[in-house]
């Protein structure tokens, strides 16, 4: 009988037939296919090679298994997790480092990461690959503030109950892994106040965004502890002085700035920024949105003969460019955000949720750290 089987690969080979062929139980065969440590390596090898000879098709087996599970309403994991990132993610070391952390964890458990990019306008839903409508994506990691996308996904039949983890931003309706932005704002303000600065200018992209909101609260908290009225000492500056609020545009601006294109428009905005700065001479410290913005501001200030850190202490956020090619990057005082760790934690959380070890939409907050470099200095030393 077994000879016949070898000569004629069967279309509908069952585990039972393989089991009979190898002289083992059906469950042993199943275990061997699933790499169960209960089955010795030698036995597994023997079963797998026999299955191969018999013409066993793991994909057919998998299809059948899934169909069976689906029929009984059981959960079927496809081992595919999708990440949704903004489409400028490819030029932002910030997102890449998070993506690395995610990939690290997921690839170690043989999951694949389905990459979906949104266009510049995050209110528009991305074009999802076919696998989404097939309901074969196990879970999603949202890489930026994407309420609309989350809302639309939750409405879709396939995703109303799938685990979704948001990173950087916390949103109602999904789990999240975020940096301790409050502490970041608190630490950087304390650092500046300790150096003798009193009037601090805070750059932020959008007050409604949870990240900047939390950071700003941290700054206000530090000011209050120092018995300084935030309304007097904490100055707020929005990006539209220099450019639009959209982070995509900020990134684009940096690129165009670096490449010297479209320089006129940028120069007009710089003029406005410098003018506003000169109207508030009591400001001695600037907290930038992030390191990249800090680099831009540094360049703008030094072009205007305003030296850093002598005239203005400048502080970034994220610690993304210290190791990069940019020479000034290694001099920026900043708040280090554990980006890879955020990615890793998000992936681990998602896996826990898939395994139903974690059921509620929790929020994980990771600590940040002040990194003092050359761009901040004591005001007393002047």
């Amino acid at each position: 009988m077994s000879d016949n089987l070898i000569n004629k690969p069967k279309q509908n080979l069952t585990l039972n037939e393989i089991a009979i062929h190898c002289g083992v139980g059906k469950s042993t065969v199943s275990r061997a296919f699933n790499n169960d440590p209960e089955v010795s390596a030698a036995t597994r090898e023997r079963i797998l090679s026999a299955a191969k000879k018999l013409g066993y098709s793991p994909s057919q087996h998998e299809s059948a298994r899934r169909l069976a599970l689906q029929k009984y309403g059981r959960k079927v994991l496809n081992q595919v997790v999708s990440t949704i990132f903004p489409n400028y993610f490819h030029q932002a070391p910030y997102f890449l480092r998070i993506a690395n952390g995610i990939l690290d964890v997921l690839s170690s458990v043989n999951y694949a990461v389905l990459q979906v990019l949104t266009n510049n306008d995050s209110s528009v839903n991305p074009t999802y690959p076919t696998i989404f409508s097939r309901g074969e994506v196990d879970g999603i990691i949202l890489g930026s503030q994407m309420e609309n996308i989350l809302f639309a996904l939750r409405k879709e039949s396939g995703f109303n109950d799938r685990p979704i983890v948001s990173i950087i931003h916390n949103m109602p309706g999904c789990a999240s892994v975020v940096a301790d932005d409050f502490s970041g704002g608190y630490q950087l303000t304390n650092h500046l106040l300790n150096l003798g600065h009193r009037h601090i200018l805070h750059f932020y992209e959008n007050v409604d965004e949870s990240v900047f909101g939390r950071r700003h609260s941290g700054m206000v908290h530090a000011m209050n502890e120092w018995k300084l009225d935030p309304d007097v000492y904490l100055h707020v500056c929005r990006w539209h002085w220099i450019g639009p609020l959209d982070p995509a545009h900020v990134s684009e601006k940096l690129t165009t700035y670096l490449h010297g294109k479209n320089a006129r428009l940028f120069e007009e905005n710089i003029a406005g920024f410098l003018q506003d700065l000169s109207k508030n001479p009591e400001i001695t410290a600037i907290a930038a949105t992030n390191d990249i913005t800090a680099m831009q501001i540094w360049q703008v200030l030094s072009d205007a003969n305003l030296s850093v850190p002598e005239r203005y202490s400048l502080i970034g956020f994220d610690d993304v460019i210290s190791n990069s090619y940019d020479i000034n990057g290694s001099s920026i005082t900043t708040i280090r955000v554990p980006l890879e760790e955020i990615g890793r934690k998000a992936a681990e959380l998602l896996l826990n949720m898939l395994a139903e070890a974690q059921t509620d939409n929790c929020e994980i907050v990771l600590p940040v750290e002040l990194i003092v470099r050359e761009s901040t200095s004591s005001i007393i030393a002047r």
Partner: protein, 364 residues
Amino acid sequence: MTRENSTSQLASGIVTLQDIADRCGISKAAARWAVMSDDDTHVSKQTRERVRKVAKELGYNPAANQAARRLAYRKAGKAPLSYLIGLIVHDHITANDQYFNPLLLGALEVLEAERFGGMVMSSSAFNPSVPDVHLPMVIEHGEVDGAIIYGSFSTMVEQLRSCPQFADRPIVSLISPLPGCSQVVSDDYSGGYALMKHLLELGHRKIGHFFNLAGTPHQLRGNGARQACLDAGVNPDDCLHHLDYNKFCKTIDEEIEIIKNEKKITAIVARQDLMASLIYQALQRADMRVPEDISLVGYDDSIPIVDTSGNNFLTTIHVPLVEVGRQAIALLLRHLHDNTLPIETVSLPVELVVRKSTCTPSQA
């Protein structure tokens, strides 16, 4: 009517598109468009909403439907398309890998238009020196239609092929060609030729380069550079000085110091722009001005070196990386739809971009 649509439902226990179509009185194709797509071109918004409502009532589960469809295909000995492409990249897509990002962007652009999904997979699963690693489950189960590979182990193609579910799937390697699969590369020979011609025309006769001559792309660049020397009537062995990368890595400043003291080499050709910017920093530390004391050429046009007025001044070879990503997917999809096509190589043209980091060598 109820009897009719319940037959297939009963048969498999799974609600099919046919069931929905029957209930709504439309064709199966129309039901598919209504359920799967948000596009208005095939079915109207009203129909779509009506069909989706019915699908919900019937308990249509696309994943179960898909599983049934696949099983039927597989039983018939056919492999259904999964609309998934693996994008296999080297272990760590570091922020400094200026290649991966535009490649990914180009690839995803084409995939998105075709409603394919791109799955990033770390090549650590393919590391031959790490025992007991498994390919991502979706590959082992034959649910990935094809793969593009960027960087990494030369055994990867073989490894993918040895997975029975992937034996005949199309594979395309990017930038660095791998044996046994189609590839999309940039024209390294012309790149090497163009940058060397540029330096020779400026009058440079002692040029240090960091090409790793053991690797195919660099070897091609080296060959192009040699040909440019020959065409200019210069002996390439006198003109080209191979600077060792590993040695260089450890002693970047020492290497520059030697170049400075010997006063022989008047131009340096880096492997990529990233390396050029590191060399640039070392040159600054050694008080050597670019281009007055030494000319510097990058490769790939991915990272600018910014001068005081905010302009990139690095002379380099522009490599169309986004286009490489696009072409790779286009090539892969062609092979996916016609598996009789032979393995092919697509080579994209590169372009010399002259900025300010190169000039006539000083006579000092």
